[in-house]
Symmetry: C2
Subunit: 434 residues, 2 copies
């Protein structure tokens, strides 16, 4: 069976995602579709608007055959950790032929060129990157500049060539866009693993990733979450909501609204406001330094901001600079919440990123894929909560325990107190979708 | 000038407290009255209903000449640490002649007898205490039984004597009551310090310390807080509140209601619910074991309760047993919140408890007392926030920093977000009361 892999957050799953799943199957002629799904904290450094258990259902309703977990350690992480974590899982399955992702670029060549440079950084690349960082640029911007320099230099060695100039310009213009950045990281991770999985990209339709524009039917997930928060803050009802009706499939909308009416959503970063202000006020500078994505001096900035701030948004706003973009700050905040440290993340990286394959949901086709995986997978497969006890490597136990802690913190963000019970990771079974 | 010291929480300051201050001055014929006032977390293991800054005003309005801080390290602590901390400050001032406290007993003799036994524990006392603890009794009850045994044994050695029997019975019946327990601890601390300060007690009028009965004019502080919480939860107004009018002086009521209308109160333990559930879910068993008042096995009980609970009250209820009373559990919870550890508390104990004298408020008489103290005090005096920088001993700096952290956590419990700014300990000056 030909299988396509998708790396996803579905926060929430909208019509653009539905289109992507359909395209991924069609373009690769795949009979099976495996989704790696972000856990309860997502890549932008925030809690997901509804729990993974709801988003698994959305994925299964929308064409995924098998849904696997991207643990919070990687899902609430920088583009490199996020991508490397997800690709390490896809690669470990032993059954995946393609990785299909959405991008602003829509053409794989430019992304491949950038990924090649990032995967095997040349000396001149490293030097330019370092200079950029010491000038106070953010990592993303400094890397973009370094790539630009290297590509232009390489090009001039080959000699003036219109085709190459255009290509260089394409690459350079591509690498500043959020979905392209992730795509490049996926390809880079595949290259480093010398993976046989073939990357395929699809041009994103609808609004930009971060766009708050409200298109009629293809709004970004950001715009949808913003809309949900506006309705929530105004104490209005989500029933008969035209905007949501236009942007989510009937099935996904039902899952979403069921979560809301049960009191398990929507979950916003603001729900963790007092926990975050508390933690960053009380923790010592040393403890803050142990978080991932830190660098010297940032701990004082964070502590001062926590002292002076009375809200989550103020805390973020007071910490952000050109060098420390909001996504990085938010990942640091929620790393504190879940108990992630830089040392632990590094340990995972040095040991091939993910330590297990966790099954979250599947249909009949997914069940067949699972049987195949059981023969070929290179990581242990967790199919039920009790499998956790069978993990025999310390690092995998530590990763699962981090996941359990992250969820114990996440549920405290549920709007209705009676749903905030801990320990869910140890009792929730995968979803079998008929 | 003859000076009487009072150890107080004023949570809030009611007519019973007012009576106590008047009596203390009159009975000792003192010209000066110094209050040691609990900081933002109080002895029962809870946040105070309004901040210390409001309660200082109440004390000054009610007859205190000088208000000094009992740091949260001691104010949110077991009876022994609370009393030893407060007495260590009174003793260090060099100007105090009397310590006057309220008690259920009202007669100093029985309390002196118990304090004598507790200050210098005999071998047979220690043995009986240990046996009681190993039978699963709480510390308070086991100690009560041990005292009973020792006193009866001592008595029988002297021979049957009606007077002695009555006296023994008096002591035994006295030591189970909350204000008597504190009184005994005060006397014990004075004895251990061989302090010249003379203990004086006054029988409490009105309802019992923990009573929820609503007397017309002498309700307990517990009943008053309960009333305030009921009004708060029902979204009613505190204006024209007959119950509060009957139980607080006009001045104290005004201070209280000003705090409420500014959004800095009332502060309830429930405001820290998500922070506490979060901390006890996420922290490792080792970290929980490092808290004060812990013993082996309790860390698992606390972690399990945090997992299963969705509210503060449920967390407490699920942890309490005969052996672990609610006050002990709550002190553990709020020790986590303020970053207190068993090791740090022990370090303070081994170094004479308090490390400085912090001035919170004073009137003209208080100012004269301060001048006198500056000549005689055996601990450094902090009169303004900047004095903190002049502390030259590491432990005193650590104690002040703990206090600052405790307040940074406390303000997160204010009902109105705009008041939740951190760093207040470094910018708030003592109150000069004209």
């Amino acid at each position: 069976m030909s299988v396509v892999g998708i790396i996803s957050e579905y926060n929430p799953l909208h019509l653009g995602h539905l289109h992507h799943i359909k395209y991924a199957r069609k373009a690769t002629n795949a009979q099976g579709c495996i989704c790696i799904l972000s856990s309860n904290f997502v890549q932008r450094g925030e809690p997901a608007i509804v729990s993974k258990w709801a988003r698994i259902q959305m994925a299964l309703f929308s064409g995924a055959d098998l849904v696997l977990e991207l643990p919070s350690a990687f899902s609430c992480a920088s583009a490199e950790y996020f991508s490397s974590g997800a690709v390490s899982i896809l690669q470990s399955l032993g059954v995946v032929d393609y990785l299909c992702f959405g991008s602003e670029e829509g053409n794989i060549d430019a992304l491949e060129t950038a990924a090649e440079q990032f995967a095997y950084e040349s000396e001149s690349f490293k030097k330019t990157l370092k200079n950029g960082l010491s000038e106070g640029l953010s990592y993303a911007v400094a890397r973009q500049k370094a790539l630009e320099t290297v590509l232009i230099n390489n090009n001039s060695k080959i000699g003036p060539n219109d085709y190459n100039d255009t290509k260089v310009n394409n690459v350079i213009s591509a690498i500043g866009k959020p979905n392209n950045i992730l795509g490049i990281e996926y390809i880079k991770a595949l290259k480093r693993l010398k993976s046989p999985i073939k990357p395929v990209t699809i041009k994103r339709i609808g609004e930009d990733y971060n766009s708050l524009e409200r298109a009629s039917t293809h709004s970004s997930a950001t715009a949808i979450r913003k809309h949900i928060q506006d309705v929530f803050n105004s104490n209005s009802s989500y029933n008969q909501d035209t905007f949501l009706n236009n942007n989510l499939s009937k099935e996904c909308l039902k899952v979403l609204l069921d979560e809301f009416s049960s009191g398990r959503g929507p979950v916003f970063p603001e729900a963790f406001e007092s926990m975050l202000l508390y933690a960053f006020r009380i923790k010592s500078a040393d403890e803050i330094c142990s978080l991932p994505y830190m660098e010297e001096g940032l701990e004082n900035r964070l502590k001062e901001a926590a002292m002076e701030s009375i809200s989550y948004n103020e805390l973020v706003r007071k910490t952000v600079t050109k060098r420390y973009p909001a996504s990085r700050i938010k990942r640091i905040l929620f790393s504190m919440l879940t108990g992630m440290t830089g040392e632990f993340l590094n340990e995972l990286k040095n040991n091939g990123y993910s330590q297990y394959i966790r099954v979250l949901g599947f249909n009949e086709t997914g069940r067949a894929l699972l049987s195949e995986m059981k023969k070929r997978a290179t990581l242990p497969i967790i199919t039920k909560p009790a499998s956790y006890n069978e993990l025999d490597n310390k690092l995998s136990v530590k990763l699962f325990e981090h996941e359990a802690r992250a969820t114990d913190a996440y549920v405290l963000g549920y709007p209705v107190p009676k749903e905030r019970i801990g320990g869910m990771e140890f009792i929730t079974s995968p979803i079998y979708f008929k």
